[in-house]
């Protein structure tokens, strides 16, 4: 992510206390003095990496922190310690890996932040869809209105191709047409990512303002959250569509 807004807001690290082993140092995940792994403290993924809850983040710096922490926390490095320390090492490392995996991915990071903000995201995964279908529920698929016509058309074509394939035929023109639409959808996905980055900037601005002591109203926050939720839903919708198209084309 280029165009990083200057991050000055650095929150307090998660609950620090004296090292359980040497007692002298303040320690977060491991003790700066004796290197011992500390018991994991409950922390969200941003706090784990001592990051503010901003969305525009420097992935290279995150990776660097990840590797440095891995060298201290990993069970292989702590293999010769006692049972309790090994347990902490395992828990800390799984937290580290989970946090890194979530934060390095722009979509997962946004979803995670929204969840922290109390938003319950509509599950659009394939398994959720199939689950709903199999239990007789009608899955609420919010089709973005501007895509309605296009999607309708594409679904018809997909049906046609499926039917053709079943008969053992295929129509090169139809395949080409569907392939073209797939490309378009993929471009839309890319465009949505760029839009998302714009929304991040606004969100990060709110966080920065708050940090500077200026109040941010709940209404303002909600508006920004809703925009991101809306965008993620559109993106999920398109992603699922691309997946369906690929499936038909590849089979």
């Amino acid at each position: 992510m280029t165009n990083l807004t200057t991050i000055t807001a650095k929150p307090a690290p998660p609950e620090t206390q004296s090292c359980w082993s040497c007692g002298t140092m303040r320690a977060v995940h491991f003790c700066e003095a004796c290197g011992k792994v500390q018991p994991p403290a409950p922390a969200d993924y941003f706090t784990f990496f001592c990051l503010p809850r901003k969305l525009n983040l420097d992935v290279a710096a995150l990776d660097k922190d990840f590797y440095e922490l891995s060298r201290k926390l990993h069970p292989d490095v702590n293999a010769r310690t006692g049972g309790q320390e090994q347990e902490w090492s395992l828990q800390q490392t799984s937290l580290l890996n989970d946090a890194h995996r979530t934060l390095k991915d722009p979509i997962k990071r946004t979803q995670y932040l929204l969840q922290l903000e109390g938003v319950e995201l509509e599950e659009q995964s394939k398994s959720a869809t199939e689950q709903a279908r199999s239990t007789g529920q009608i899955k609420k698929q919010i089709v973005p209105p501007d895509l309605l016509e296009e999607v309708f058309e594409l679904n018809m074509q997909l049906e046609e191709l499926r039917a053709q394939k079943k008969m053992g035929e295929d129509d090169p023109a139809l395949i080409e047409e569907i392939g073209r639409q797939k490309l378009e959808l993929e471009e839309k996905q890319e465009a949505l990512l760029r839009e998302l980055a714009d929304l991040w900037k606004v969100w990060d601005g709110l966080i920065q303002r708050e940090h500077n002591g200026q109040p941010v109203s709940e209404e303002e926050r909600r508006q920004e959250r809703d925009k991101m939720v809306d965008l993620l839903n559109r993106r999920n919708y398109i992603r699922n569509l691309v997946r369906d198209v690929s499936e038909v084309l590849e089979n």
């Binding site: 990993h74 890996n97 398994s127 689950q131």
Partner: protein, 632 residues
């Protein structure tokens, strides 16, 4: 005893090896027959005692119903999983097996589970290492195919425990290979490891940077390897024979083993020669056939093509194009086949590395990881392995659908927390079905276990909030814990592993019960030390008759005689450490004699060698060449 030695073990489908870090480089520990490879064959001898390796291999032909090979194919699997295997492998299952039960294999009139048979192989490797070190070995790193699922990993860990080994880590085979490879090269870049062994195929793509070996993606097939090629050739031979003679030898286990041995040799020959001939004396018929490489390559094409899909998927998961791979490393005996090498070259657009011994590199890498876990050395300083889970972990949700909670290629350890609630008032139990695999429907995924959360405090429906944490540890093995959040009560979890042994079962199988293990070990050590003493004493006798003896001073001769007497005296006693001490003393005392015995030109090169080594003509990696592995 010296510091705790941790060995690295490659428990292979066809061959197994044990290695350790000698100074700054890993070395394979040879068996008593001097061979680095221990064939993964277990047999019962005429006294119903288990024998392992080359000794057991002969039984495959003489007494096939008393021997078993390729047991790795059955690890962590149920009877319904292995129907395909049973068509091609002479596994004799116990007749009373129930569906869902851990498999039991008949050897003679006894039955063994696959982890028990693997444990016999591990015990042999353990003994080889103990003989080598002259000290007990209790800790090991064992490698598994990267694509092994939870049940297969658990079964391997159980085998270690049964063999009396504390398994400090299960390491994925291609990852281990990359450690051995990376130790040499010390460079950054993207490496693909293509590992086609006797029974399993793995592809792993790693990023090497500043000592960190980070797996980005892995894929594979745990039932694809050289075995499949052998079976194809056997089937053709059997069909030929039936056509020629009308004899169907399919039920003749001995004949099949004779054919198997011959086709394996032919396969190996074809890696270097354009053609080879099969010429076999079989009951009632002589079988002859010329096999050309061209015909062979056509035959195996469908088998080796099965590696293409996993390679492409791994590249896709890693988000890489073939051009972005800097190096391709070949692992596993089947990568010696020129056609396989050609395929790899085509897939990754580059010439694969062939300078490492594909049979040994995994064991060597396991030794490197063992060294890292033991605290590291100069060679392994800064080295850290970050591996991934090969398969997605999911739970079954309504409608028989898999809800994936940890995706494949997630760096491990990895965790996921799920919340459950009750559906009726006062419900005390919740059942969770854990799955592994990529398919959408639960029935198409591998069932790992069913968990029953018990003892949920009575509450209205939907009020309970049970937090269940799924954690995949650094071995790729799943751990589950659960807590009811409103009451804070730890929910009790009852696990029914789908195809595993319970803790109690493993306890009951441990090969040497703890009280006798120490004594067995001591006795073995005494016998081995005595053997070694005899070796050096007879070498000394020879030395005394050589002209070199005359060049020693009277004082030197006197000293040697004194040490010789001491060793002869102590040899009859039961203190193996004292015997070893006397051996060492005599070895040191005869260094000059050993040097003199050599040609003066050679003597400079051999400076510092001991009597023992000079006489035996053995390198420093095999200090006890005469000792036997098995003492029972």
């Amino acid at each position: 005893m010296a510091t705790d030695r941790i060995v690295g073990i490659d428990l292979g489908t066809t061959n197994s090896l044990v290695a350790f870090m000698q100074g700054e480089s890993p070395v394979v520990i040879p068996g008593d027959d001097g061979s680095n490879l221990v064939p993964s064959v277990v047999a019962l001898d005429s006294n119903n005692q288990p024998v392992v390796g080359n000794a057991a291999r002969n039984s495959l032909i003489d007494a096939p119903e008393h021997a078993v090979y390729s047991i790795k194919r059955l690890m962590g699997r149920g009877v319904e999983d292995i129907q395909e295997e049973l068509k091609f492998f002479p596994f004799r299952l116990a007749e009373d097996l129930q569906a869902g039960e851990v498999l039991r294999i008949k050897l003679g009139d006894k039955t063994f589970t696959p982890p028990e048979i693997s444990a016999l192989i591990l015990r042999q490797l353990k003994r080889n290492a103990e003989r080598f070190f002259g000290a007990q070995v209790t800790k090991a790193v064992i490698t598994v195919p990267a694509y092994f699922n939870d049940a297969q990993r658990q079964a391997t860990k159980d085998a270690g425990r049964i063999a009396g080994l504390e398994v400090l880590r299960l390491v994925n085979e291609p990852t281990a290979a990359s450690l051995a490879y990376g130790l040499d090269k010390k460079q950054n870049g993207i490496v693909a490891v293509y590992d086609l062994g006797g029974g399993t195929f793995d592809i792993s793509i790693l990023k090497l940077h500043d000592g960190i070996f980070e797996v980005i993606a892995t894929n594979g097939d745990t039932h694809l390897g050289g075995d499949d090629i052998d079976n194809l050739l056997i089937t053709i031979a059997l069909d030929d024979l039936k056509g020629d003679t009308g004899f169907d030898l399919r039920q003749n286990a001995e004949a099949i083993q004779v054919i198997r041995k011959a086709v394996i040799e032919a396969k190996i020959t074809l890696s270097t020669e354009p053609q080879t001939a099969l010429d076999l004396e079989l009951p009632g018929h002589r079988y002859q056939r010329i096999i050309t490489r061209e015909w062979f390559e056509k035959l195996i094409q469908p088998i080796i093509d099965r590696t293409v899909g996993p390679c492409k998927q791994a590249l896709k998961d890693a988000g890489l194009k073939p051009e972005q791979i800097d190096e391709v490393v070949l692992v596993g005996g089947s990568t010696r086949i020129p056609k396989v090498r050609a395929l790899v070259k085509e897939l990754f657009h580059r010439e694969p590395h062939t300078d490492l011994n594909p049979d040994e590199v995994v064991a060597l890498g396991a030794a490197v990881q063992a060294n890292i876990l033991g605290g590291g050395s100069e060679a392994t300083e800064n080295m850290l392995l970050l591996d991934v889970t090969p398969l997605s972990l999911g739970i079954e949700v309504a409608g028989g659908v898999t809800d994936k909670i940890i995706l494949r290629n997630s760096t491990i350890p990895a965790s996921s927390t799920q919340f459950y609630t009750t559906q009726v008032d006062g419900q005390a139990n919740v059942a969770i079905h854990v799955l592994q695999g990529e398919r959408e429907l639960a029935k198409d995924c591998r069932s790992l276990a069913r968990f029953d959360l018990k003892g949920i405090p009575p509450m209205a429906a939907g009020m309970a909030r049970i937090e269940v944490k799924f954690l995949i540890d650094a071995n790729g093995i799943l751990n589950v814990s659960a807590r009811e959040q409103r009451s804070g009560k730890e929910a009790e979890i009852q696990v029914q592993p789908s195809y595993g042994l319970t803790d109690e079962q493993v306890e009951g199988m441990i090969l040497d019960s703890f009280d006798s293990a120490e004594e067995d070990f001591r006795q073995r050590q005494v016998i081995e030390a005595r053997n070694e003493a005899s070796t050096i004493l007879s070498a000394l006798d020879k030395g005394k008759k050589s002209p070199a003896w005359g060049h020693l001073t009277t004082d030197e001769k006197k000293k040697i005689a004194k040490m010789e007497k001491a060793l002869i005296a102590i040899k009859t006693e039961d203190d193996y450490q004292a015997i070893r001490k006397a051996i060492d003393a005599l070895n040191q005392g005869t260094t000059r004699l050993a040097e003199l015995m050599m040609d003066s030109a050679v003597s400079t090169a051999l400076k510092g060698k001991t009597m023992d080594e000079v006489d035996m003509g053995e390198g420093p990696t095999a200090p006890h060449p005469m000792a036997k592995a098995e003492f029972e």
